[in-house]
C-alpha cells in the first residue's frame, strides 16, 4: 500500500508544501491528483466540487498542472514549440501563441524567451518553461515535484520569487519537498506525509525546523541499542579528496562531490546522513568505480583502487547493496540462481576459470535462501516474483557470501517490511562483529543512529558535519542535513536520553507485535 488515509486541504492562492521522506508516498499522492493513477477509495474535490480523474487530461481540464522533477521538454525545439506542443488548439502555433506566452511570462515575471532553443537553456530556465507550459494550458493549481532538487541556491531564491508572484495572482501551488528550510521559507501551509499517510499539518510561522523534522522522521521504528563497540584501529577504506564535477550547458560547473575524505576501520559502520540528491549516490558510484573521478583516491585495505574497474573492486572485496535494487542489484527476469551469480561471476562457487558452474551456483543459492530466510518456492523462479524484502535478503546473502572487506549499503531497508528490516540489520551487525567495514547510506535517521559507529553528514557534495550517534538526536542531524549546522554535532544530553528512551519503547512495541517475523530469531545486539 503506497497511500492510505490521506487527508489534505489546500486553500486557493497559497503555497502549500507537502513534506515527507523519500518513499513516504508523496509521489503516489501527486500521481493520483494528476490523474496518472486512480485511488482505490477516497475523493478529490476542487472548489467544493467532486471530481474524478481518469487521465492527466482530466486533471488539466480541471485546471491542475504538474511540473515534474525530470523535465519533459524536447531539447531540439524552441520554447514556443515546446509550450504549444499538445496544446495547439488553445492559441494556435504562431504569433497568437507567442503573444500569449509573452503575456503569461510578463504577468508572473518568468522572463521566458519564446524563440530560444531549449537545448541552450540552463536548468532554471527550463523549469520556468515547464511552469509556463502548464500555465499556458490554464492551470490554476500547480503541482511542483521537488523543484529545487536540481537548482543551485541562487536559482532556488529566484524560483521562490516566481512562486510568490504566482500566488499573488491567485494561483495555488502545491510544493513537494523534503528540504526543511526551503519549505519554511516559501510555504503558507505545510502537510507532512509519513509511511503513506498524512501525519499532520503545520503552520510555517509557528513551527521550527526541528519540529518539522520530528514529524517527518517519526519515532516508530525499532532502533538503537547500546552495544559494545567492535571498531578496530585497522583501516579498511580510505577515501582522499574525492572530487567529481559536471559542467552544464551554460558553462556553470556543478560540483557533485568535492573534497570528500573518509576512513572506515575494520568492524566500523560509517553512516552518511543527507537529504537525497546531495551526492550520496555519486559517492557510492565513485567508490564502486562506476563513475570516473576528477580527483582523489580510493584505497581498500592498503590497495589503491582509484583507477580500477568495478569488477576489480568487487574482487578486491567490496560488497554492494544498491539503492535501487531493481536497477542495479538484480536481473528481474532471470532466475534466482542467476541473480546469485550477478556481481560475483568471477568468484567461487560461481565459476572456475572462464567456465560457469551452474550446479554449484544453484546449490549455493539454496544455502542463501535457507540462511537468509528468503521466502520463495524455489530458486528457478524469477527475481521479479519475489517481494521487495525477499529480493533484498537475497542480495544481502549474495554480497555476504564472498567475505567482503567493505560493504556499501545504500538504503538497505528501503521498501522492506518491518520483519525483513530487523533481519537485514542483524545481518549487517553480525558481519560487523566479524570485522566488516560498512558504509551505510540511509534516509532513515533512526536507522543511521541505531547502526552507525560514526555519522558524517553530506550536503551539496561535501561532508559538512560529523557526529557520534550516541550523542546526537535525529532532529539535530536533520538540521545539519539542510546545511544549517556544520562541524561536530553534539546534542543536548537530555534530548539524547529522551530520544533513546522513545526508541527503546518503539523496539519493545515492535517485539510484542504478533506479526513480525523476528519473534523466533535472536534479537539484535543482545
Amino acid at each position: 500500500m503506497a497511500n492510505h488515509d490521506i487527508n489534505l486541504t489546500v486553500r486557493t492562492g497559497t503555497v502549500h508544501a507537502l513534506m515527507g521522506e523519500n518513499g513516504a508516498g508523496k509521489s503516489t499522492l501527486m500521481k493520483i491528483l494528476y490523474g496518472m493513477q486512480r485511488p482505490d477509495e477516497g475523493t478529490i474535490a476542487i472548489n467544493g466540487e467532486q471530481c474524478e480523474f481518469h487521465t492527466p487530461g482530466d486533471a488539466i481540464a480541471r485546471g491542475i498542472g504538474m511540473v515534474h522533477q525530470h523535465f519533459m521538454l524536447a531539447d531540439n525545439l524552441t520554447v514556443l514549440e515546446n509550450v504549444v506542443l499538445g496544446g495547439e488548439k488553445l492559441h494556435g502555433i504562431g504569433a497568437r501563441a507567442k503573444a500569449k506566452i509573452k503575456e503569461i511570462s510578463d504577468q508572473y515575471g518568468l522572463g521566458v524567451r519564446p524563440d530560444a532553443l531549449v537545448e541552450d537553456l540552463g536548468v532554471a530556465d527550463r523549469q520556468r518553461v515547464e511552469i509556463l507550459k502548464v500555465l499556458y494550458r490554464g492551470a490554476k493549481i500547480l503541482i511542483l515535484d521537488e523543484p529545487t532538487a536540481v537548482l543551485v541556491p541562487q536559482e532556488v531564491d529566484a524560483l521562490f520569487d516566481n512562486l510568490r508572484e504566482l500566488k499573488s495572482e491567485g494561483v495555488t501551488v502545491i510544493f513537494i519537498s523534503h528540504k526543511l528550510h526551503e519549505v519554511l521559507a516559501v510555504a503558507d501551509a505545510i502537510s507532512v506525509i509519513r509511511r503513506g499517510t498524512t501525519v499532520g499539518d503545520a503552520d510555517p510561522k509557528a513551527v521550527t525546523a526541528r519540529q518539522l523534522a520530528e514529524m517527518m522522521v517519526g519515532a516508530e521504528l525499532p532502533s538503537p541499542e547500546n552495544r559494545e563497540s567492535t571498531v578496530t584501529t585497522t583501516e579498511m577504506l580510505r577515501v582522499e579528496d574525492l572530487r567529481i564535477a559536471k559542467t552544464d550547458a551554460e558553462g556553470i560547473e556543478r560540483v557533485v562531490l568535492d573534497d570528500i575524505s573518509l576512513r572506515i576501520h575494520k568492524g566500523e559502520i560509517l553512516g552518511i546522513a543527507g537529504v537525497e540528491g546531495n551526492g550520496q549516490a555519486e559517492l557510492v558510484e565513485a567508490i564502486m568505480g562506476m563513475l570516473p573521478l576528477d580527483g582523489g583516491t580510493v584505497t581498500l585495505d592498503g590497495k589503491d583502487l582509484s583507477g580500477t574497474l568495478t569488477r576489480a573492486r568487487r574482487e578486491a572485496g567490496i560488497g554492494y547493496i544498491p539503492e535501487d535494487r531493481h536497477k542495479h542489484g538484480l536481473l528481474l527476469e532471470a532466475p534466482l540462481w542467476e541473480n546469485r551469480i550477478l556481481g560475483h561471476v568471477t568468484e567461487e562457487p560461481n565459476s572456475s576459470g572462464p567456465l560457469l558452474k551452474p550446479a554449484a551456483a544453484r546449490e549455493d543459492t539454496l544455502r542463501i535462501v535457507r540462511d537468509y530466510d528468503v521466502r520463495t518456492p524455489g530458486i528457478e523462479v524469477t527475481a521479479a516474483s519475489l517481494s521487495g524484502g525477499n529480493q533484498q535478503k537475497l542480495i544481502i546473502g549474495r554480497e555476504m557470501s564472498h567475505q567482503p572487506k567493505l560493504l556499501i549499503a545504500a538504503h538497505p531497508t528501503r521498501g522492506v517490511d518491518v520483519g525483513a528490516q530487523a533481519q537485514i540489520w542483524e545481518h549487517i551487525r553480525s558481519a560487523q562483529r566479524e570485522g566488516l567495514a560498512v558504509l551505510l547510506i540511509s534516509a532513515d535517521l533512526d536507522e543511521l543512529i541505531g547502526l552507525s559507529d560514526t555519522i558524517r553528514v553530506i550536503y551539496r557534495g561535501r561532508l559538512v558535519a560529523d557526529a557520534d550517534p550516541a550523542t546526537v538526536t535525529a532532529e539535530d542531524l536533520g538540521t545539519a542535513m539542510t546545511g544549517a549546522a556544520a562541524g561536530h554535532l553534539e546534542s543536548d544530553p537530555e534530548a539524547v536520553a529522551e530520544a533513546q528512551a522513545v526508541a527503546a519503547e518503539g523496539t519493545e512495541a515492535a517485539d510484542q507485535h504478533p506479526h513480525t517475523d523476528t519473534a523466533d530469531k535472536p534479537q539484535a545486539g543482545e
Binding site: 564502486m288 562506476m290 574497474l309 568495478t310 569488477r311 576489480a312 573492486r313 568487487r314 574482487e315 554492494y320 544498491p322 536497477k327 542495479h328 542489484g329 538484480l330 536481473l331 528481474l332 527476469e333 532471470a334 542467476e338 551469480i341 550477478l342 556481481g343 560475483h344 561471476v345 568471477t346 565459476s351 572462464p354 567456465l355 560457469l356 551452474p358 550446479a359 544453484r362 546449490e363 539454496l366 521466502r375 520463495t376 518456492p377 524455489g378 530458486i379 528457478e380 523462479v381 524469477t382 521479479a384 516474483s385 519475489l386
Partner: protein
C-alpha cells in the same frame, strides 16, 4: 554436472516443466497458424484454392531433392540468424550482418582464388579469413558506439550501404576479378582453388552441404558460450539490464566491442556455404538479403540456438517449396514473402504477450505457494 542433492534434482524437473514448454512454444505456433490463415484468405480472394498451394509445398518437402534443398538453404539461414542473435542477446542490434557477410565473402573468394594450399589448411584459412573480415567490419560499428556514442543501428545500416560500394570498388577486372573477363556480362572473382571445395554428402536428392556441420557447430558453441561461460553470463546480464550489469562489474564498453566482433565473425561465415559448395566464386549473382532474413529468423527463433534451427528450417521450407508454386498451379511466389512477413510480425507481438503473461502468472503462483506455506506453518504452531 550431476548432483546427488535432491533439491537440485527437483529444480531440474521444475526447469523442464510442461508449462514452461507450452509457454515457449505458444508464441511461434500461434504466429505460424495465424500467418497460414492470413495467407489462405489472401490466396482465396485472388481466386486460388489455398489448400492446393499448401499441398504443392508439402508435397515438394516430402521429396528427397526438396529436403536436401531445404537443409542446404537452412544452413545458410541458420548462420545468418546466429550472427544477428549473438548481438540481440545483449540488446545490441547488429543490422549490419548483410554488409558484413558480403565483404567477408568477397575477401574469402579472393583469398581462395589466389592461394592453393592443401585442403586441411586451405579451408580453415578461408574460414578464418571470412570471420576476421566480418569481425573487423563489424568492429567499426562497435568502436563508434563505444567511443562516439553512435547508435549501432544507424552505423550498421550505413555500413551496409558502404559494403555495396566496397564490393563495387574491388570487384572490377584487374583488382579482385580476372583481367581478361570472360564472355559473360556478369563480373565475378576467379573460381576458388579445388582444395577450397568443402565436402558434401551425395544423396538421392543431390549433394547435402557439409557446411551443415559447421552450422551445427556454431549453434553448439553459441549455446555453450552463453550458458556455460563467464563471458556469456556477462553478455546475457548486459542484455537483461545494462545498469545492473554495470553495477555488477561488467565492462559494458568492452562487451559491446567484443559482441559486435563475434557477431560480425559469425556473419562472415554466411557466404561460405554458397562460395565453397556451390558457386565457387563471388559475383554479382551472389544471393543478397541474407542478413535481413537472418534477423527475421533470429526473432522467430527467440535468439535461442534450438529455436533458430527450427525457424531456419521453416523459412528455408517456405523459400524452397514456395519456388514450386508458380511452376505447379500458377500460384504467385510472392505469397511466401507475405507469409514470412506475417509470421515475423505475429511472433513479435505474440512473444511479448506470452512473456508478460508468464511473468505475471509466475508472480501469482509464487504468491499462492508462499501463502500456502505460511498457512501450513501457522497450523503447525497452533497445534503445537
Amino acid at each position: 554436472m550431476t548432483s546427488p542433492n535432491p533439491a537440485a534434482k527437483r529444480s531440474f524437473a521444475q526447469r523442464i516443466s510442461g508449462e514452461r514448454i507450452v509457454l515457449a512454444l505458444a508464441a511461434p505456433v500461434l504466429a505460424v497458424v495465424l500467418s497460414v490463415a492470413i495467407c489462405s484468405v489472401l490466396l482465396a480472394t485472388s481466386g486460388k484454392n489455398p489448400f492446393d498451394a499448401w499441398n504443392v509445398m508439402i508435397t515438394y518437402a516430402t521429396k528427397s531433392d526438396g529436403q536436401v534443398l531445404i537443409l542446404n538453404r537452412a544452413t545458410t539461414y541458420y548462420l545468418a540468424a546466429a550472427a544477428a542473435a549473438f548481438g540481440f542477446r545483449m540488446n545490441l542490434f547488429n543490422i549490419g550482418v548483410e554488409g558484413q557477410y558480403k565483404v567477408a565473402a568477397l575477401f574469402a573468394a579472393f583469398v581462395g582464388a589466389q592461394v592453393d594450399l592443401p585442403a586441411f589448411i586451405q579451408i580453415p584459412l578461408l574460414l578464418v579469413t571470412a570471420m576476421l573480415i566480418g569481425g573487423l567490419y563489424a568492429s567499426i560499428a562497435g568502436l563508434l558506439k563505444v567511443y562516439r556514442g553512435v547508435s549501432e543501428v544507424i552505423s550498421t545500416i550505413m555500413l551496409n550501404a558502404i559494403s555495396v560500394s566496397i564490393v563495387g570498388l574491388l570487384l572490377v577486372p584487374g583488382v579482385f576479378a580476372p583481367k581478361a573477363s570472360s564472355t559473360s556480362n556478369s563480373i565475378q572473382t576467379d573460381p576458388v582453388s579445388d582444395s577450397s571445395h568443402f565436402f558434401s554428402i551425395p544423396t538421392a536428392g543431390g549433394d547435402l552441404w557439409g557446411f551443415l556441420f559447421i552450422a551445427v557447430l556454431v549453434g553448439v558453441l553459441f549455446q555453450f558460450t552463453l550458458t556455460r561461460t563467464r563471458f556469456g553470463f556477462d553478455l546475457r546480464a548486459t542484455g537483461r539490464s545494462e545498469s545492473a550489469a554495470t553495477a555488477s562489474g561488467v565492462n559494458v564498453k568492452k562487451m559491446v566491442v567484443i559482441s559486435m566482433v563475434v557477431s560480425g565473425a559469425i556473419a562472415g561465415l554466411i557466404g561460405l556455404p554458397e562460395l565453397l559448395q556451390n558457386s565457387y566464386s563471388y559475383g554479382q549473382s551472389f544471393q543478397p538479403g541474407l542478413g535481413f532474413l537472418g534477423i527475421s529468423i533470429a526473432l522467430l527463433g527467440r535468439n535461442s540456438p534450438i529455436g533458430m534451427a527450427f525457424a531456419a528450417l521453416l523459412f528455408s521450407f517456405l523459400d524452397s517449396t514456395g519456388s514450386q508454386l508458380p511452376l505447379k498451379g500458377g500460384f504467385p511466389f510472392e505469397i511466401v514473402a507475405v507469409m514470412q512477413g506475417t509470421i515475423v510480425i505475429c511472433v513479435v507481438v505474440a512473444y511479448e504477450l506470452v512473456r508478460r503473461y508468464g511473468l505475471k502468472r509466475q508472480q501469482q503462483k509464487v504468491g499462492a505457494q508462499l501463502a500456502a506455506q505460511a498457512a501450513a506453518t501457522e497450523k503447525k504452531e497452533v497445534s503445537a
